[in-house]
Structures are given as structure tokens and as C-alpha cells.
């Protein structure tokens, strides 16, 4: 279980539902490690500033991660936690590997999910 204030995605069904019902979704797939915690912190802080974006997290070692985020072609070269994927209307519009700053996250949100 991830110890964050974000909504956790814990099943493949929930993932599909989140992607289907929310036009704009940011999913951070990681662990409670040094590279992941700052990204969760950014998401928690900016969640209220982007009310039309659903901010979600997912445990990297969970079955749902294997079935969804880690199975995406966009992350096949990724070798750094966390895997962060941005969806718009069900499609992947951006994906990043490893730690990201607030400026990097908001730049993607403003560019891809505005």
C-alpha cells in the first residue's frame, strides 16, 4: 500500500474505470522510495489546482501495475522509478521515468492536459 493522500488504483478494473470516466488522468506508478516520494508530493500539492485532472497512484509491485502501466509500450525502455503516465481521452499523451520536479510535472500538465 502506498502511504500517500492520493487515490490509489488497486485493480485493473478500477484502472479502466478511471481512464474511461476521467478525460485527463495522471498516474504515478512507484514505491515509497526516494525517487517516488517527491513526485507523490507534487501531485498532492497541485491536485486542487488542476480540478479536471484525476491524480492517481499505483504500487509498482502490484498485479495491477503489471497488467496496466508496466505493460504499456510507452514505458518499455523505462529503468527508473517512478513510471508516470499521463492519459487524455484514454490515450497516453506523455510518460516519464524517474524523479520529476514540480516544474517538469506542471509543464507536461499544461502542455498535454490543458
Amino acid at each position: 500500500m502506498l502511504d500517500t493522500n492520493l487515490t490509489h488504483i488497486e485493480t485493473a478494473e478500477q484502472f479502466q474505470e478511471e481512464i474511461a470516466k476521467n478525460g485527463k488522468v495522471m498516474v504515478c506508478c512507484g514505491r515509497m522510495g526516494p525517487m517516488c516520494i517527491p513526485v507523490y508530493g507534487v501531485m498532492e500539492q497541485i491536485e486542487s489546482k488542476y480540478p479536471d485532472v484525476a491524480f492517481r497512484d499505483m504500487l509498482f509491485d502490484s498485479p495491477v501495475a503489471m497488467q496496466t502501466i508496466r505493460a504499456l509500450p510507452e514505458v518499455r525502455h523505462f529503468q527508473g522509478l517512478p513510471f508516470t503516465v499521463y492519459f487524455r481521452d484514454g490515450k497516453v499523451v506523455a510518460a516519464t521515468s524517474s524523479i520529476q520536479s514540480k516544474a517538469q510535472v506542471t509543464a507536461i500538465l499544461d502542455r498535454e492536459l490543458a
Binding site: R31, M32, G33, P34, M35, C36, I37, P38, G41, V42, Q45, K49, H77, F78, Q79, G80, L81, T96, S97, S98, S101, K102, A103
Partner: protein, 310 residues
């Protein structure tokens, strides 16, 4: 949120949080502004083995405990702040933060800490998260059964190289000098590991790959001979640099960018003090940062309580 404080602490690592605890305990209205995640470099450590009284605490837990302690005494903490302007030279100091506005105080403690040093070559950024990593514990298992490179020659580099042999089939340590800065015990442990080999006095020239890292290209500092090391991963542990670029031209810095202070941790500006890893000093540990934060806070209290100059 209040706009006027007695003291503003720039930086929420162990130095800044300790300063906040001491200031708030002294009834000094205190704002801690951090441009990143509260905890600073502590957050980047899974396990902290040498913080007295808290054996095996995680960096995250220690950070949270310090923050909770500071807030319990009345400290306001503003994380992930984008500081857009600083005015430190007058009697009233001002800090402007994007989306938050302008905050003022009579005293400021600079505790911005350090940031991991990077090689600064163009291909480094291109492969971050695609083979280049700064955290062995986080990303080591991506390289199970693969050949990797560890860059650096200090304790962190050698310790992490040994730890990474748990996953990797081979680890090549690349170091810029022909001797290590690490302690002898760390060097010995690496030398005795059959999966580790050493390439000394090398300059990293380039990271190469198609989508993900495939090779690390290094050049001998003796004769310039190029070696291409096949590697799926490269872990960089080449130290830290002070996070003081935003202070250039604001307070006195050493040529290495460290904040110059006196024994009471005062900078060249009245009412502006400095604490922690960004300060010019020899040893940088969580404990020394905590000590700095204490001294800077007590000195700030004295400054705030001093009668105005006649």
C-alpha cells in the same frame, strides 16, 4: 496564510527544520519555504544508520517527524515553492513565491542544502530514467543480470557498487582520479567483490544507446585512450554541490558556491544567517546540519531580541 513573519527559513532539510523547531519554540513566527520536498537530502535516503537515537530510521520518516515537530510548535511550512524573488539587504527581508505571493520577515536563515552533482554532458539528461540512475536502492532491480557502471569514488559510490552486485552480473567502477576518496574499508570491500572491476583516472565522455542506455564511453586522463563499456545502467554517485545558484550576487559565496558565514553562522548581510550543507564547512552530515540549524536559530532569536541600534 500570514504574510508577515519574524523569520523565514529558506530550505526544509534537517538544518531548516531544526531552525524552525528552535525558532517556533522561542515564539518566533516562522515560515519555512522549501523549493522541493520537505526533508531535503534526507528524503533521498532509504535508511539512515547514524542519526543518534533513531537507529535504522528511514529518511522519509525522519523528515516527517522533524516537520511535524516544527509545525507542532507553530511553524508554517511551504513545500514545493517556486521562489521568484529575494530581497535580503534591507531591515525587512522579502521572499516572493509563485502562486503564493510575498512574505516578509526581519531575519532569514538560508538552508538550501545541496543537490546531486551531475556530469553535465548532454547525453546524461537524455538517459535519465532510461539507464542512468542516482538511486541504487530504487532502480537496482531493473538491472538484474545486466552489466552496469558506477561512476564515482567516494563512500557512496563504492558502497552502492557492492550493493548493486546483488542484481547486476558485473559492475565497472569508473572514477576520475587514480585513487579513491572513500574510506579504506569501503575500498577493500569493493576490491574483494569478484563482480567489480575498476577503471581509474577516466573522464566520462558520452552515454550511448537507442531508447535505453547501451554503452558508456570514457577517456583515460593519462593518454586520452577511449574505452567503450557495454552497460545497460549507469549509477552516478559523484557528490553534491551547494544549491546556491539563486544566491549568487545576493550573499557572499566561496568560489565553490558555498555560503560564507562566521562562527555564529551570520552571513555578510545583517539578519541573514546560513545553516546546513550549503554553508562553507568541512563535514556535511544530518547531525551537522541539525547543529547548524540550532546555532542559526539561537543567533536569530538574539538578533530579533537585540535593541535597535542607536
Amino acid at each position: 496564510m500570514d504574510r508577515e513573519f519574524d523569520a523565514i527559513v529558506l530550505g526544509g532539510g534537517p538544518a531548516g527544520l531544526t531552525a524552525g523547531i528552535y525558532l517556533a519554540r522561542a515564539r518566533v513566527r516562522t515560515l519555512i519555504v522549501d523549493t522541493g520536498t520537505v526533508g531535503g537530502q534526507m528524503v533521498l535516503s532509504y535508511a539512515i544508520a547514524n542519526y543518534p537515537g533513531a537507529p535504522d530510521v528511514t529518511g522519509r520518516d525522519l523528515s516527517r517527524a522533524m516537520r511535524r515537530q516544527a509545525e507542532s510548535f507553530g511553524c508554517t511550512v511551504l513545500p514545493l515553492a517556486d521562489v521568484t524573488a529575494l530581497e535580503l539587504d534591507g531591515p525587512v527581508k522579502a521572499v516572493e513565491v509563485a502562486d503564493e505571493g510575498r512574505f516578509t520577515a526581519r531575519a532569514v536563515i538560508l538552508a538550501p542544502g545541496g543537490v546531486p552533482r551531475k556530469l553535465g554532458i548532454p547525453s546524461e539528461a537524455a538517459f535519465e530514467g532510461l539507464g542512468i540512475s542516482y538511486c541504487a536502492t530504487c532502480d537496482g532491480d531493473f538491472f538484474t543480470g545486466k552489466d552496469i557502471v558506477v561512476i564515482g569514488g567516494g563512500n557512496s559510490a563504492l558502497e552502492e557498487a557492492v550493493a548493486l552486485t546483488k542484481y547486476a552480473s558485473s559492475v565497472t567502477i569508473v572514477h576520475e582520479f587514480d585513487h579513491f576518496q572513500a574510506q579504506p574499508w569501503a575500498v577493500a570491500e569493493a576490491e574483494h567483490n569478484p563482480k567489480i572491476r575498476f577503471l581509474m583516472a577516466q573522464e566520462v565522455r558520452e552515454f550511448v544507446g537507442d531508447g535505453s542506455l547501451a554503452e558508456v564511453v570514457v577517456a583515460s586522463k593519462h593518454d586520452g585512450a577511449i574505452t567503450r563499456i557495454p552497460a545497460s545502467g549507469a549509477f552516478l554517485f559523484i557528490g553534491y554541490v551547494p544549491n546556491t545558484r539563486f544566491l549568487e550576487g545576493v550573499v557572499d559565496l566561496t568560489p565553490r558556491g558555498e555560503i560564507v558565514t562566521d562562527d555564529a553562522l551570520r552571513t555578510n548581510l545583517p539578519g541573514v544567517l546560513a545553516a546546513g550543507d550549503a554553508r562553507a564547512k568541512r563535514y556535511r552530515q544530518i547531525t551537522t546540519a541539525v547543529a547548524d540549524g540550532t546555532v542559526a536559530a539561537l543567533e536569530t532569536v538574539a538578533f530579533l531580541n537585540a535593541p535597535p541600534a542607536a
